[in-house]
C-alpha cells in the first residue's frame, strides 16, 4: 500500500432527473410534490409574496408572518400552540427579502389535524394587540443585544451601505420601530399578501396518499389570485452611499469586514461561471481567501464570499471577523487575491477541485425529499426550476479558466467594491 498516493476518483455523476409532480387545485393553487423517503415525516412550504420587498414599511413582513400564529376568530394563540405541540408539529415562518414561507413540519399521519389549523390562520388571523405588544417587546430586546454584536451590526449595515436606504434591501429598522406598529398597516399587508393570494405549495417527504384531497379541502376553495411565480414590484436602481464606511465599536478585539458589489442574477448567461469564480475566491474551505487569511496567516476563524441571489439586486459579499490588529493587512491581502484572479488563470487542478466540490454540493442538495423541496423553493421564487438547476450543473462542468479570468477583470476590481468595517 502506498498511502502517499490518492485513490483514483470516479467522475461525479450528473444530477438525477428529479422534478416535482405538479398539480393545480381547483382554484388554481399550485402544489409541487416531492414524494419519497422511508421516514413518515413531511415538510410543507406555503410560499407567499409576503417578503420584505412586498411591504412598504420595515418590520411588517416579519411581524405579519410571526403573528399568523397569534389567534383567529375561533381559536387563540395559546390553543393554537397547544394543538400544534400536541400533534408534535411545528410551524415556522421564514421571511426573507423576496418571499415569506410558512414551513409546516409534522409526522405524515398528523397532516389531517394540522392542515385545518394552518388554513385557519392563513385566512382568519385577527392580530390581537397584546400578542403584537409581547412580540415587539421580545424583538426589541433581541435588537438591543444584536446592536452590541459587531458581526450582526456589520451584516445589517452593509445592506444599507451597498443599496442605500432608498432601496428596499437597504431599509433598516431602528430601535424606535419596535415601540409602535400601525395595526391598520399590518392588517392591510396581511390581506394583500396572504388572504388575497394563493400560496405556492411545496410538499416534501413521505406524503399521505390523500395529500391532494387534503390540500384541496383546505386550500382549494379559497378565492385568491393564483400564480405560478412570486410577483415582484418594480424597484428603482440605487448606488452605494459611499465606497468606504467605518463604524467604531468600543473595546472591540476583532474587526468585522464586509465588502461587495452588485452582480448579475441567476438568469444571466455568466451566472454559472460567476458562481465558480466566487467559489474559488471564498466559497469553500480551500478558497483563495481562506487559504491566505486563515490557513496561512491565522488572522481569522473564517472568511467567506457569497453570491447572493435577490429579486431586486443580487450581490457579492465578502465577510469575515479578524484580529483587529491585522485589519489593514487583511484588507491588503483581500485585494491581492482579487488581483491574482485577474492576472493569472486558475490552473487545471484547482479548477477541477472547485468544479467537483460544487457538483458534490449539488448532489447533496437533491439527496432526499426535504432537501429537494428546499432547493426547489430557492429556484421557484425566482422563476426557475429543477431543469434549470441541471443545466447550471452542466455549465459548471464547462467553465473555462479563460472565461473566469475575463469575469474577474470585470467583477473583481477593487475600485468597484463597497466596504464596511465595524469595530
Amino acid at each position: 500500500m502506498n498511502r502517499a498516493e490518492a485513490p483514483s476518483l470516479q467522475p461525479l455523476s450528473a444530477l438525477p432527473e428529479i422534478s416535482p409532480q405538479t398539480t393545480a387545485l381547483s382554484n388554481g393553487t399550485l402544489v409541487h410534490q416531492f414524494n419519497l423517503g422511508e421516514q413518515a415525516y413531511v415538510q410543507l412550504q406555503f410560499v407567499f409574496p409576503a417578503g420584505r420587498i412586498h411591504s412598504d414599511k420595515v418590520l411588517l413582513a416579519e411581524l405579519c408572518a410571526e403573528l399568523l400564529l397569534a389567534g383567529t376568530s375561533k381559536i387563540n394563540a395559546a390553543d393554537i400552540a397547544e394543538q400544534l405541540d400536541f400533534y408534535g408539529a411545528s410551524v415556522e415562518p421564514g421571511v426573507g427579502d423576496d418571499d415569506a414561507t410558512i414551513n409546516v413540519y409534522c409526522l405524515s399521519k398528523q397532516l389531517p389535524n394540522v392542515l385545518p389549523l394552518v388554513s385557519s390562520f392563513i385566512d382568519d388571523c385577527i392580530f390581537p394587540q397584546e400578542e403584537l405588544d409581547i412580540l415587539l417587546s421580545k424583538w426589541k430586546q433581541r435588537f438591543r443585544i444584536n446592536l452590541q454584536k459587531s458581526d450582526q451590526q456589520a451584516n445589517r449595515l452593509f445592506r444599507k451601505v451597498l443599496f442605500s436606504d432608498k432601496h428596499i434591501y437597504g431599509r433598516l429598522s431602528v430601535l424606535a420601530d419596535y415601540d409602535h406598529v400601525d395595526m391598520n398597516a399590518l392588517k392591510a399587508f396581511y390581506q394583500k399578501a396572504y388572504v388575497q393570494q394563493a400560496p405556492i405549495i411545496i410538499a416534501a417527504g413521505k406524503l399521505p396518499e390523500d395529500i391532494l384531497m387534503l390540500l384541496e379541502t383546505h386550500f382549494g376553495k379559497r378565492l385568491a389570485a393564483a400564480s405560478a411565480n412570486i410577483p415582484y414590484p418594480a424597484t428603482a436602481t440605487t448606488e452605494p452611499e459611499q465606497a468606504y464606511t467605518y463604524v467604531e465599536k468600543e473595546g472591540a478585539v476583532q474587526s468585522s469586514i464586509r465588502m461587495g458589489r452588485r452582480m448579475p442574477g441567476m438568469g444571466h448567461p455568466d451566472h454559472s461561471a460567476l458562481y465558480v469564480l466566487n467559489t474559488i475566491l471564498g466559497g469553500y474551505f480551500g478558497s483563495r481567501l481562506m487559504d491566505n487569511i486563515r490557513e496561512d496567516k491565522g488572522y481569522t476563524y473564517g472568511i467567506h464570499s457569497s453570491l447572493l441571489m435577490r429579486a431586486a439586486g443580487p450581490y457579492l459579499e465578502i465577510s469575515t471577523e479578524v484580529n483587529k490588529e491585522v485589519l489593514e493587512d487583511t484588507m491588503k491581502e483581500i485585494k491581492i487575491e482579487f488581483q491574482r484572479l485577474i492576472d493569472e488563470p486558475v490552473n487545471a487542478e484547482e479548477l477541477d477541485t472547485v468544479k467537483n466540490y460544487i457538483l458534490g454540493q449539488m448532489l447533496r442538495s437533491v439527496d432526499g425529499a426535504l432537501p429537494q423541496g428546499k432547493l426547489f423553493r430557492r429556484l421557484m421564487i425566482y422563476g426557475f426550476d429543477m431543469e434549470h438547476n441541471r443545466r447550471f450543473a452542466r455549465e459548471v462542468r464547462e467553465v473555462s479558466a479563460g472565461r473566469l479570468q475575463e469575469l474577474a477583470a470585470i467583477y473583481l476590481r477593487e475600485q468597484d467594491m463597497c466596504t464596511l468595517i465595524v469595530g
Binding site: Y41, L84, Q141, I145, G298, N323, Y357, G360, R364
Partner: protein, 414 residues
C-alpha cells in the same frame, strides 16, 4: 428502525455499517472518545485545538481538504466535553478517498511547529469571536464554573483562557495524539449507498495496519454531590438582564435521563410549554425562557436559560420561575400534557432519522455510550415514562440544594 452491522477490528477499531440504497452518497463518521473532560486543568482547550490540528496534514497526506473536495466531498467536525467527532460526506463511488484520508490521520499526524502555530492563532480568533467579542460571551465559562467544582466539566470546551492555547507545545500534541487518537479509542460509521461486505473489506485494508494504542483509563475526578444552593452574580456591558439556573442530573446513558429530558419539553418544548405560556405570555416577566439538558456522558446539567423583560427585577422573575418548578415537584402531570411531550419525542425521532448523516453520527454516539442497538429502543423508553416518575425526577432535580443560580446583570457603560 436503523439497520446496521457492527464489527471490531484486531486493533480495536469499532466499525458500524448502515446501508441505505436510496442515496448515492456515503457518510464516514469517526468518533474519537476524547473531549474536554480528558484535559488537565492547566492545559484546557486542548481537545478542541487538536480537532483543528487533525486538518493540518497527516503523515502521508499534506493536504486533507483538497483531495476531499476534488472527490465531491464535504466535511466538518466538532468537539465537546466528551467526544471529538469527524464526518465526511461524499459520493459513495469515492468512498476510498474518505477512508484513505481518515485512516492516514488516524495512523499519524505530521507533527510540525508551523501548522501548530497557525491553528493556535485560528483558535484564539475563534475564542475572541464567540466568547470575548460578544455580549454574554463568557456565560458558559461562568455557568460551568458555578455548577462544577471538581469535575473537568467546570471548564468550557474552547478552554478556560486563550493563554492555555497559546502555551501548547508540539510534544504535548504528540503525547495527546498517541494516547487518545488510536483505533481502539474510536468508533467509525460508514452509512449510505454502500454495501456492508465491501465496506468491511475496504476498512480492513485502510485501517487494519494501524497499531492499537494503550487502553484508556480515565481517572476523571467525580463531582461531589452538591449540598447547598449556589449563587453567582455577574455584571457586564450587556443590554438585557439574564437569569440562568442549572441543576445536577444523571449521565446521558442512565435510565433517569428520559424523565429529565421530558421535563425540558414540559417546561420549554414549544410555545405551549409551561414556561413560555405562563411567564412570557400570560405574565410577561421574561422575553424568552428555555430549558435543556447538557446530555453529557458523565453526570450532566439541567439548564434553564432566560432573558428578563425590562423593569422586571431578578427577585421577582426568579420567584415566578421557582413557583413553576415547585408545581412540578408537588403535582402530577395530567395525561394530555404527558402525551403531548411524548408525541413531540416521536416526531423529533422520526425527523432525526431522515438525514443519513444524522443516523451515522447517532450510531457512533450510541456505540460510544455502550450499546449501539439502543438507538432503536430508546424512543420506547421515553414513551414508557410515567407521570409519577416525572414528578419524582422533578423533586430530585429542582430541590434548592441542587440549584445553581446565575444573575447576569446589565450594567451598560455610558
Amino acid at each position: 428502525m436503523i439497520s446496521f452491522e457492527r464489527f471490531v477490528l484486531n486493533n480495536g477499531l469499532t466499525l458500524i455499517v448502515h446501508e441505505d440504497a436510496s442515496t448515492p452518497m456515503a457518510t464516514v463518521n469517526v468518533l474519537y472518545k476524547v473531549g474536554a473532560r480528558d484535559e488537565s486543568p492547566d492545559k484546557t482547550g486542548f481537545a478542541h485545538l487538536f480537532e483543528h490540528l487533525m486538518f493540518g496534514g497527516s503523515i502521508n497526506i499534506p493536504n486533507f481538504d483538497t483531495p476531499l473536495e476534488t472527490a465531491g466531498g464535504e466535511n466538518n467536525a466538532f468537539t465537546n466535553n466528551d467526544i471529538t467527532n469527524y464526518y465526511i460526506n461524499l459520493p459513495a463511488s469515492n468512498l476510498d478517498t474518505a477512508l484513505w484520508l481518515e485512516s492516514d490521520r488516524m495512523m499519524s499526524l505530521d507533527f510540525r511547529q508551523e501548522p501548530l502555530d497557525t491553528q493556535k492563532s485560528v483558535v484564539i480568533e475563534e475564542f475572541k469571536e464567540h466568547y470575548i467579542n460578544q455580549p454574554y460571551g463568557d456565560l458558559w465559562h461562568k455557568l460551568s464554573d458555578l455548577s462544577y467544582k471538581v469535575h473537568p466539566y467546570r471548564w468550557p470546551t474552547i478552554g478556560l483562557i486563550p493563554e492555555h492555547i497559546e502555551q501548547a507545545k508540539l510534544q504535548d500534541v504528540k503525547d495527546f495524539f498517541f494516547q487518545y487518537y488510536r483505533p481502539n479509542n474510536a468508533v467509525m460509521v460508514v452509512a449510505g449507498g454502500v454495501k456492508t461486505a465491501e465496506v468491511l473489506k475496504k476498512v480492513q485494508y485502510w485501517f487494519g495496519d494501524i497499531p492499537a494504542g494503550p487502553s484508556i483509563e480515565r481517572n476523571i475526578p467525580k463531582e461531589p454531590a452538591q449540598t447547598a444552593a449556589r449563587f453567582m452574580e455577574v455584571s457586564s456591558d450587556v443590554p438585557v438582564n439574564c437569569l440562568f439556573k442549572s441543576f445536577h442530573m444523571s449521565k446521558r446513558a442512565d435510565k433517569a435521563f428520559h424523565a429529565s429530558d421530558l421535563l425540558t419539553d414540559i417546561l420549554g418544548g414549544g410555545d405551549s410549554a409551561r414556561l413560555h405560556q405562563r411567564l412570557v405570555k400570560d405574565n410577561p416577566l421574561f422575553s424568552s425562557i428555555n430549558a435543556y439538558v447538557s446530555g453529557t456522558l458523565d453526570e450532566g446539567l439541567f439548564i434553564i436559560d432566560s432573558k428578563l423583560n425590562e423593569e422586571v427585577s431578578f427577585e421577582k422573575a426568579e420567584a415566578a420561575l421557582n413557583k413553576e418548578l415547585e408545581q412540578l415537584m408537588n403535582e402530577s402531570l395530567g395525561e394530555r400534557e404527558l402525551q403531548k411531550v411524548k408525541n413531540q419525542v416521536e416526531a423529533h425521532n422520526e425527523y432525526n432519522d431522515i438525514s443519513v448523516l444524522n443516523r451515522a453520527m447517532n450510531l457512533a454516539f450510541y456505540d460510544c455510550m455502550g450499546d449501539v442497538d439502543y438507538i432503536n429502543r430508546e424512543v420506547q423508553d421515553y414513551l414508557e415514562v410515567t407521570a409519577p416518575e416525572i414528578q419524582d425526577m422533578a423533586a430530585r432535580l429542582f430541590k434548592k440544594e441542587n440549584s445553581n443560580t446565575l444573575y447576569y446583570k446589565s450594567e451598560p457603560h455610558f
